[in-house]
């Protein structure tokens, strides 16, 4: 399965990309006039090419907002996001997003849904080959002609991941992609993500509410939290996760970091 993704392959889409991201004094608020509410404030951060950064925080702290701003889905109020040194000015082909819900088009087959992610420039034959390859990578070859409502939630989410990868993104933005899955499917998806990243180490921003998931997958963990005396979240902590992947889910080092993170998120006594 992974042989298809050998970095040395000559297929143009196999030239994987990994871009650095720089958030520069980013601020974001929503609403109009007096109801305007700051969500993010003064977020400055550098993400290295090929790094996996997990973004943790309590609900509503602006995790998804940070991701959406990087994706160009929302324009920032203040500051800017630079990807590969160039500012984000809207949706472009450097990034690809996988959302918490699969968001597949129900009237298309899984194959057509994955094809939706292909860059506009790709030729029909190369695109077709690429889609089949990605379906195999996420283990859905047998379901290529099924429609989204005919497959399980985990399969739909894998399709969504394949669609994002079809874009050959330099930055992969994952907004709680495994949050709605059952525990076993989630573990399989986490392993799948690591496999993919092992072969094509693209930059990944992973929003999650699961501390264990962050510890297992990420190089660094960004914790968003309220700043002193002001509304809107900012960087509360930026931690490097010790050890190399694949990490042992039961390691003692991680256990200590886990309780630190949990208390940072307002959950004590674990």
């Amino acid at each position: 399965m992974t042989a298809l993704l050998t970095p040395g392959s000559t297929h143009p889409h196999h030239d994987h990309r990994a871009f650095g991201i720089r958030f520069s004094r980013l601020g974001q608020s929503f609403g109009t006039a007096e109801k305007r509410r700051a969500v993010l404030r003064d977020v400055s951060l550098e993400v290295r090419p090929g790094e996996i950064l997990a973004i943790l925080g309590t609900s509503g702290c602006g995790k998804s907002t940070l991701l959406r701003t990087a994706a160009g889905l929302d324009a920032p109020d203040t500051g800017e996001v630079l990807i590969d040194g160039h500012p984000v000015r809207g949706i472009d082909e450097r990034c690809a997003v996988a959302f918490q819900e699969p968001r597949l088009l129900p009237w298309h087959t899984l194959r057509a849904n994955v094809a939706m992610g292909l860059p506009r420039s790709s030729s029909a034959s190369a695109g077709k080959a690429r889609v089949l390859e990605l379906l195999e990578l996420v283990g859905l070859t047998a379901f290529a002609k099924h429609r989204p409502r005919e497959v399980s939630g985990g399969m739909a989410q894998r399709t969504s991941l394949a669609r994002a990868l079809a874009r050959n993104p330099g930055v992969l933005l994952l907004d709680e992609p495994f949050g709605a899955l059952d525990a076993l499917t989630r573990i399989r998806m986490q392993d799948l993500l690591l496999d993919i990243h092992g072969v094509r180490p693209t930059t990944v921003l992973l929003v999650t509410h699961d501390v264990d998931e962050a510890l297992l997958l990420a190089d660094r963990i960004l914790v968003l939290g309220p700043g002193a005396g002001q509304t809107g979240s900012t960087i509360a902590e930026l931690l490097a996760v010790p050890g190399t992947r694949p990490r042992d889910r039961a390691s003692a080092d991680l256990a200590a970091l886990r309780s630190t993170l949990l208390s940072m998120l307002g959950v004590d006594g674990h």
């Binding site: 949706i91 472009d92 959302f99 088009l105 129900p106 939706m116 409502r149 497959v151």
Partner: protein, 299 residues
């Protein structure tokens, strides 16, 4: 009977139908999870009542009972033959008109008027509904006007149509067109407003914009709603056909109604009503088949 009320009811039925479909999907998903063999069997229904031929036979029970009661009246004479002619008399009136070659003429001209008016009205309804549903500017500019026009009881247009187009095919088809326009317009307009925002955003996130986004995400998403609008529009088209033909015509089933009423031919009145019921139901059933296909294909 106001056409707003009909449209509203139609939209609600469509909404509740989608709701039910949503639940069914969840079931399918959990049941068929990770089991490809079972997936093919989803949608298989159970129970004799959902079995095609059984349903068809059950649907015939009440019409046959009515026919029986009708025939019994002819024998017992509860109502006079002028008030309620026997089924045989109605059949004979039909045979007589058919032999003179008039019956086909009435049926063909009426069906033709309905189909032309329905086709033009639906296309206009789709176009205007899409425009107002997608463009905020067009919505702000035109929605009050369209709303006001819809509030005009459609028969109020008749004097104006006759003045402008004289008594002919144009004025009748235009009245039917007006009747067919609003249900399609309303359903398309509302459905486009309620296309799943998440899907649209996903489309945008993968670089779809403008026409591409419209044809890839927004239009396919409203196909089932469009079909419920079309069915409402077809019913409206038949309604307006009879109105148009009652007011001014020399051919057609509506003319047959008013002409027979003037001549005291109750048998022909019954004939015309039964023909309207049968043809109306048949055209609706055809569209219903298309709707079922569309719902399967686009959801």
């Amino acid at each position: 009977m106001s056409q707003e009320a009909r449209t509203a009811v139609g939209a609600r039925t469509a909404a509740s139908r989608t709701g039910q479909r949503g639940d069914a999907e969840d079931d399918t998903r959990s049941r068929s999870a990770r089991d490809p063999a079972r997936i093919r069997r989803t949608g298989a229904s159970s129970g004799a009542l959902s079995h095609g031929p059984v349903r068809l036979l059950l649907g015939l029970v009440v019409p046959l009972l009515i026919l029986g009661a009708w025939q019994a009246n002819a024998v017992l004479g509860v109502f006079s033959a002028v008030q309620l002619p026997s089924p045989g008399a109605v059949l004979a009136a039909g045979a007589e008109l058919a032999a003179r070659g008039e019956l086909w003429l009435h049926i063909v001209i009426s069906t033709q008027r309905v189909l032309i008016g329905f086709a033009i009205g639906s296309v206009l309804g789709l176009a205007v509904g899409a425009l107002l549903g997608l463009s905020r500017l067009a919505d702000a500019l035109l929605t009050p006007v369209v709303g006001a026009l819809r509030a005009v009881p459609s028969l109020a247009w008749v004097p104006l149509l006759i003045l402008w187009m004289k008594i002919g095919e144009d004025s009748k088809v235009t009245l039917i067109l007006i009747g067919a326009f609003f249900p399609v317009f309303t359903t398309v307009f509302l459905a486009l407003r309620h296309v799943d925002r998440d899907l649209v955003e996903a489309g945008r996130a993968f670089g779809l914009r403008g026409m591409q986004l419209l044809t890839t995400v927004q239009l396919p998403a409203v196909v089932p709603a469009v079909f419920s609008g079309l069915r409402l529009a077809l019913a409206q088209a038949w309604l307006f056909l009879v109105a148009a033909e009652l007011i001014a015509s020399s051919l057609g089933l509506g003319f047959l109604l008013i002409d027979s009423s003037n001549n005291g031919r109750t048998d022909r009145i019954f004939l015309a009503i039964i023909l309207l019921a049968v043809i109306g139901k048949a055209t609706d059933a055809l569209l219903g088949l298309a709707e079922r296909w569309a719902v399967r294909r686009w959801t």
